[in-house]
């Protein structure tokens, strides 16, 4: 899968290239608006990561030109401008999604996956990780032979972790997707911590194989073995 990253900040660009390559994406890097524009004109990409503030050619301008010329690759805008007007302007000009800097890398990956599989219905009815199983129709969770009693919020949280399993989910993602908060504040952080602790108690307590792990400074992950 070919990804074009248009980002002028060298360290961010390099980190994106490294991280995305590690996730088995084929990454092409453009560090100016001009370069990105010529790349787009010459090759086809499955996804474009576009920084809005670029030297040379403004990100929004690239976006408009792309859409005017009928290029349909999904575009994920990365921006430090989070004012509402900028978001609207970006989406109006044909961006498919946006992330506000500084974004969490796991969230970037999740958004990219969502954009790439867009249009394909999500037909999963059962989720499984090791001996942990979740039935989305009967809304029940079992670990081994034992049924787990979860509150609705704990269920949502576990579902989100299992859907992303074995990838790391950032706090921002939990705040937005599970708690439906547009801004992640200290209050939500506390709620996440408490719920993770409770969930961990129900899922992992007294079992040799721990499934829920904390990745310090990044977020949480549900996976077998070490994080």
């Amino acid at each position: 899968m070919r990804i074009l990253v248009i980002e002028d900040e060298p360290k961010v660009a390099q980190a994106l290239e490294e991280g995305l390559t590690a996730e088995h994406y084929d990454v092409v890097l453009a560090t100016t608006g001009e370069e990105g524009f010529f790349r787009l004109a010459a090759e086809a990409f499955d996804l474009v990561l576009l920084d809005l503030m670029l030297p040379g050619r403004d990100g929004l301008e690239i976006l408009s030109t792309m859409r005017r010329r009928g290029m349909v690759s999904p575009v994920l805008v990365l921006t430090a401008r989070d004012a509402v007007e900028d978001r609207v302007a970006g989406l109006d000009r044909g961006a498919d999604d946006y992330l506000v800097k500084p974004f969490a890398f796991p969230e970037l990956l999740a958004r990219m996956r969502a954009l790439v599989r867009r249009g394909r219905p999500d037909q999963v009815l059962r989720l499984q990780a090791a001996d942990l199983e979740m039935d989305l129709i009967s809304r029940t969770v079992t670990r081994g032979d034992e049924a787990l009693e979860l509150t609705p919020r704990e269920f949502q949280l576990l579902e989100y972790l299992m859907r992303n399993h074995p990838r790391v989910v950032a706090r921002e993602m939990l705040a937005r997707e599970v708690w439906k908060e547009t801004n992640r504040g200290a209050v939500v952080d506390n709620l996440i911590d408490v719920h993770i602790a409770r969930l961990r108690k129900k899922v992992d307590q007294d079992r040799p194989l721990k499934l829920i792990h904390t990745v310090r400074g990044v977020g949480f992950v549900l996976r077998e073995g070490q994080p």
Binding site: G19, P102, A104, R153, V187, H195, V215, R216, G217
Partner: protein, 483 residues
């Protein structure tokens, strides 16, 4: 109130000053007129005496026996009354006299006999009334004699006295009128000051774009107002640039933070052994804290610049309180605390529910964090006058009274050590305060509480009568249960 009083006393002072000035001018003027009147009256009398001396010199003649007599017989008639004429030879012997007052007049002094010139002087009669006397040396048929004509000064003095009486009566009346006029004029002149003061009082840091009203930019008050407005404009500009600086700084900090975060997270994701996950994780935690801080700063500077849209809707405050309590109940349960929501009345408000909810959550979260294990936290919703009131009362250590005003300031910490471990950048309450103010309300720490903290949020009530149709149907409670 104080400004008002100062303006009032300024008015009184201006009135007093104008009265003093006008009074002085009138006194001096009256004095001048008096002197002029006196001088001209005397001059007229003197001229009359001079004419009489000349006429008498022509009318008198020397008889053979050395006596002197008026040609055509002695004068008589009413003009003789209040008048005296006498003729002396140079040796001092009286040669002739006529007029009713002549016997009362004193003899001319030695100086009069020696003087070659005409003399005018005031003399006193035997009854000590003042006479104006004119004496001149004339030749009566070759004989040099001293001829004197005298007339009383009394009618003249009477006239001057009447003038003084009229002036003394008129002057206070004139000064009184001047006072009234001065008071009226000063009031008119100072009226713009009152308006300016009233407007100036409404200008706060949040409303620096307002200006003083100026009626005439060319008069003194207009110039003062203009200068004040210029100062306000400069103040507004510097506030703006401070805000812009905060926003720009916060904005610019995001780029390096993005780099730090991406580099760290990618490094952690790789299964290489070249990085110590604990170290990178710890750094990422700090990056996270910085990002939260930058977000909060940006949010505040944007809010203060008025760039955050407030979308008002009608909602019930107790319902919001229940929602917030339920949302954070899990945090309280963790600490063995109980949150209860009280208040019997529904309190409808019109505000941005999202923003108000965030503020209530912040305050409630604070209360949970700072209350000891096993205590209770009460949320009480009620109404006071035309305001909806939401109180969050905890049984924590409370806020010392000297900090109560300042807890809403940015980065303000009561106890540095304690706040550090409970986290937060010290902006939560600032943001809450902005949130409530942006919705036309206020937030304060109750002064009266001695144990625990009572945080009170007030929002303007939105009565059913003023609400939308659907809201009116939802809420059919009578509106007369106000305190």
């Amino acid at each position: 109130m104080r400004l008002q009083r100062t303006a009032g006393s300024l008015r009184a002072r201006l009135t007093a000053w104008s009265a003093v000035v006008i009074g002085t001018v009138l006194v001096v003027y009256t004095g001048g007129v008096f002197l002029f009147l006196r001088a001209s009256l005397f001059e007229e009398l003197d001229r009359q005496l001079h004419d009489e001396v000349d006429l008498s010199a022509a009318a008198l003649s020397r008889l053979g026996d050395g006596r002197v007599a008026r040609l055509g017989g002695s004068a008589s008639g009413p003009e003789q009354i209040g008048y005296g004429l006498d003729v002396w030879n140079l040796d001092g012997a009286l040669l002739y006299s006529e007029g009713s007052e002549a016997p009362n007049l004193p003899r001319p002094g030695a100086a009069a006999f020696q003087s070659e010139l005409e003399r005018v002087e005031t003399i006193r009669s035997a009854s000590s009334s003042a006479f104006r006397a004119r004496s001149a040396r004339v030749q009566l048929d070759g004989l040099p004699v001293l001829l004197r004509v005298a007339r009383p000064e009394e009618p003249l003095l009477d006239e001057l006295y009447e003038f003084l009486v009229a002036a003394a009566l008129g002057l206070p009346a004139a000064v009184g009128l001047a006072c009234l006029g001065g008071y009226f004029l000063a009031g008119r002149a100072l009226a713009p000051v009152g308006k300016m003061a009233a407007r100036a009082r409404t200008i706060t840091a949040e409303r620096l774009s307002e200006r003083l009203p100026i009626e005439n930019s060319h008069d003194e008050l207009g110039r003062l107002g203009t200068v004040f407005n210029d100062t306000l404009a400069r103040l507004e500009r510097s506030f703006d640039s401070l805000r812009r600086f905060t926003a720009d700084a916060a904005h610019e900090l995001r780029t390096p933070l993005t780099a730090l975060r991406s580099v760290g997270e990618v490094a952690l994701g790789e299964s290489s052994t070249s990085v110590a996950p604990e170290t990178v994780g710890s750094m990422l935690e700090e990056v996270d804290r910085l990002s939260t801080l930058v977000d909060a700063l940006l949010m505040l500077s944007r809010a203060e610049g008025g760039h955050v849209a407030v979308r008002a809707e009608r909602f019930e405050l107790r319902e919001l309180a229940c929602d917030a309590a339920e949302y954070l109940d899990v945090l309280a349960t963790e600490r063995g605390q109980r949150i209860t929501v009280g208040g019997a009345e529904a309190a409808w408000v019109r505000a941005d529910r999202q923003i108000v909810r965030q503020a209530v959550l912040n305050v409630l979260d604070n209360a949970i964090k700072h209350s000891p294990h096993g205590t209770g936290i009460r949320i009480v919703v009620g109404r006071a006058a035309d305001e909806a009131v939401l109180e969050i009362i905890d049984e924590g250590p409370g806020i010392p009274s000297e900090h109560r005003e300042r807890v809403f300031e940015r980065f303000y910490r009561i106890d540095t050590a304690r706040s550090r471990e409970t986290g937060g950048a010290g902006l939560g309450l600032s943001i809450s305060q902005w949130a409530i103010r942006a919705n036309g309300g206020s937030i304060e720490v109750d002064d009266a509480t001695s144990n625990g903290t009572c945080l009170r949020i007030r929002l303007p009530l939105d009565e059913p009568g003023s609400g939308t149709e659907s809201a009116r149907q939802q809420h059919a409670a009578p509106s007369d249960i106000r305190h």
